[in-house]
Symmetry: C2
Subunit: 477 residues, 2 copies
């Protein structure tokens, strides 16, 4: 890497959009993961032509470029472990077009998910591939990570909603991928390859997204279980029978306790809760799916409670799940909630076993772990609660992560459901995808021969995910 020419960067994006004082570099050195490493500069482009000029400069001078949205990623995707320029895309936040007749919208990558949905709402439609972090997450970041959320069981992940995009390649070329139509069979579907590529193939400067009608009716209920295994069996039964829910969330006993301790929300003190929701244009259809789910859940020992069509009641039911993430941070004064082994996907029939296994592995390794997630799409989330000042905790966490992904792979699951790989999950990713990593590297080299785009991530990330945590926590050295 050549020495960074700050004046050159200022000439491209204007002096106010280049930051390189220590405070800024510190802030841009972390995301929502345990990792930290400062960039050499932060640049905030406002136009595609600026992105092109920046990439040309970086490519000529072999300077790493790390495209970044809001930094809400949990695996260190935007932590610049090889330094270079963080490309903060949040200034490019215009909604360029909402085309109702042709059922698509065009947005810049810095648009916040909630802002897009606010703009779509008056037209009676919504963008469904929304993660829990939609208040801050950008569309660009969501595409880069193939994000999804509570409604992916019905509406799919980001990959199912992206029709086309414009990207700037490492050499500064601007290209258009995909098409604006529902179906397309026009050569390599490179827009699909970009979904989940974590900023390693190019910089997304525009996305064309589909949207769907806001359902007229939506009802939610809570199903209580005295056994986690029973809840897992119920998930398998509901999904195996093709019950069309719009949400199927698992909350385990650790999570229930965490929420009740922290916020006194009065969640029922049971071993597991399933939140079920259905939506549609016709009440009879919503009733039909929820009734089918109720029958199958009861068959497996569940009790349906608090079923409601009322938006306020629904919000109340969902509040416990929504507050889970902050509640885990408040679990114990001596424990920090870390995004480690934070997500995975497993076949429906292995959901209960996976949750039990997570508890067992946590206990054996001296950390506290919870199991929750969007079970209707096979997605399981965890957090590791640990005393980050203790070497023993880090060693336990490291061993627990290793054991969890070995288990997930052994039952036909995959390393990430919707949070991506970044640094934290690289080791598990490399084990799972060992046979296709040579071709992934060849594809990466085809797009980015000088390896300037988000280097050191995915297949190129260090095996030991603790390496980049030193600045944030006391590491296990």
């Amino acid at each position: 890497m050549s020495k960074l020419d700050i004046e050159r960067l200022k000439a491209i994006v204007g002096p106010n959009n280049v930051k390189h004082d220590p405070a800024d570099l510190y802030v841009y050195g972390s995301d929502s993961s345990v990792h930290r490493a400062a960039p050499d500069a932060v640049v905030r482009p406002g136009e595609t032509s600026e992105v092109q000029a920046l990439l040309r400069y970086a490519n000529e001078n072999l300077i790493p470029i790390i495209p970044r949205g809001s930094g809400s990623g949990m695996c260190g995707q935007v932590v610049p472990i090889h330094g270079g320029i963080v490309l903060d895309m949040k200034r490019m936040n215009r909604i360029l077009e909402i085309n109702l007749a042709d059922v698509y919208c065009r947005v810049e990558p810095g648009v916040i998910d909630d802002d897009l949905n606010k703009a779509l709402k008056p037209h009676g439609v919504f963008y469904p591939a929304t993660p829990a972090s939609s208040r801050i997450a950008t569309i660009g970041g969501e595409i880069a990570n193939n994000a999804s959320g509570v409604r992916s069981v019905k509406y799919g992940a980001t990959r199912e909603s992206v029709l086309a995009m414009k990207v700037v390649l490492a050499n500064g070329d601007l290209i258009t991928l995909g098409a604006r139509t529902r179906v397309e069979a026009t050569g390599y579907q490179l827009e699909r390859l970009f979904v989940g590529s974590e900023g390693t193939l190019g910089v997304i400067v525009e996305a064309t997204l589909s949207f769907v009608p806001i359902p007229t009716f939506r009802a939610m209920g809570m199903v209580l279980f005295d056994s986690l295994d029973d809840a897992g069996d119920a998930i398998g039964a509901v999904m195996g029978k093709g019950v069309a829910l719009s949400m199927l969330e698992l909350v385990d006993s650790v999570a229930i306790k965490a929420v009740n301790n922290a916020m006194d929300l009065g969640l029922p003190d049971v071993e597991a809760i399933l939140l079920i929701e259905a939506d549609g244009m016709v009440k009879e259809a919503v009733d039909h799916e929820l009734e089918a789910a109720r029958v199958l859940c009861e068959k497996h020992g569940g009790t349906l409670t608090q079923l409601s069509y009322d938006p306020k009641e629904r919000a109340k039911i969902f509040l416990g799940r929504k507050k889970l993430f902050p509640a885990l941070s408040m679990y114990s004064d001596s424990m920090v909630s870390t995004a480690l082994a934070d997500d995975m996907a497993v076949p429906y029939s292995k959901m209960a076993e996976t949750a039990s296994k997570i508890h067992e592995i946590a206990e054996r390794n001296g950390v506290v772990m919870t199991a929750y997630g969007h079970c209707g799409s096979g997605c399981m989330h965890t957090k590791i609660l640990m005393d980050t000042s203790k070497k023993k905790s880090w060693e336990g966490a490291r061993q627990a992560v290793k054991e969890i992904y070995e288990y997930v792979h052994s039952v036909g699951g995959t390393t990430s459901a919707e949070h991506g790989i970044g640094l934290s999950k690289a080791s598990a990713f490399k084990r799972e995808k060992a046979d296709s990593i040579p071709i992934m590297k060849a594809v990466k080299a085809a797009f980015d021969p000088n390896n300037i785009l988000n280097p050191g991530k995915l297949f190129d990330a260090p095996d030991d995910w603790v390496t980049a945590t030193d600045l944030r926590y006391v590491a296990s050295k």
Copy 2:
């Protein structure tokens, strides 16, 4: 290319599975397109290990390999214009697993689409990304072309149903792509890149597909229009309002006449027919969508007729659409129905204009063209009816194809909706995707550095699609 070692091929797959007599080579020299070019040998592998051995041999000796299903492609995808070995995958036709609890099935690439659905039916589920050619089309061919069909408006194309696959790379390596779960964010989604890659990146030897419940209720009706423009406006209105149909088919007056002439099916003699269908688990929901469609169609001058839930009645309504393809071949004794400009996708709001434009361009160039297709997914189909013995017809067809795709691109449409590119559409494809073709070529080189996999297709196809037609029709030389 080295001289083909037939004995070596026989040693790999057994003597009965290597064909190289002129009759076989003739048969394997064509598909459902206008193109023709004979291979040097046809090899029928029965196991993945045989595919690996064949690719290793071909890669060492720089021999083209053309993976082939049933040859129902319409654009010359499997026509071996550079000779080499056609890999007939139809022997690998086992359904390996139907996993109801985890909502996926695993199949070999030679499984016929209808056979898969026959196997799924007793379990109350179906594979929805089915093209009209499902009686003969293989799953491998459907994936290679991102096939879709009448129900793509609701259920999406092949790309929405493929979860994972095993592929053999050009060097003989066997790799696994994707995951068996509904969501996945584990690095590059190479399985999505393989969908639509037309045999140029590797040979699919296994696919993991999702399926959906067979709906309990399904109703279909016919909406008659005195004006093609009105029918187009109705399509735009129905899709723009988010009416959730499971089918929305356009049949234009040329097609109506063709069907009535050939088969006396008594289709109403109007300017345009829309076939509308909705399905679901609850009758009220199906009624709701069809009523919404009726209101919008009537607003645009349409008249709903023959609405029925009865399977026999529905089959009768659909028969005209179903028989369109053979009917076009019987349109006139002096005219042949050719798959040229055979499909495209355009934004909903341009559907009517596109159909009118097709008629206008056809007339101006002395050929007959019809417009029909799965309008609910933006997909428009045509056939060119012409006297293939006349040079003038070929010249007219060539000019018409050129003008049609220029128009499609000008309104934001794309070159192929679901038939792929192959040879016939390469010229339009190269124009549409000019800015991304360099990177597509780099990706191709990453997968297949010796260019043995289906060479001379997509970006490498000759610009003049007539070049490979000489053996089948009198060409325009």
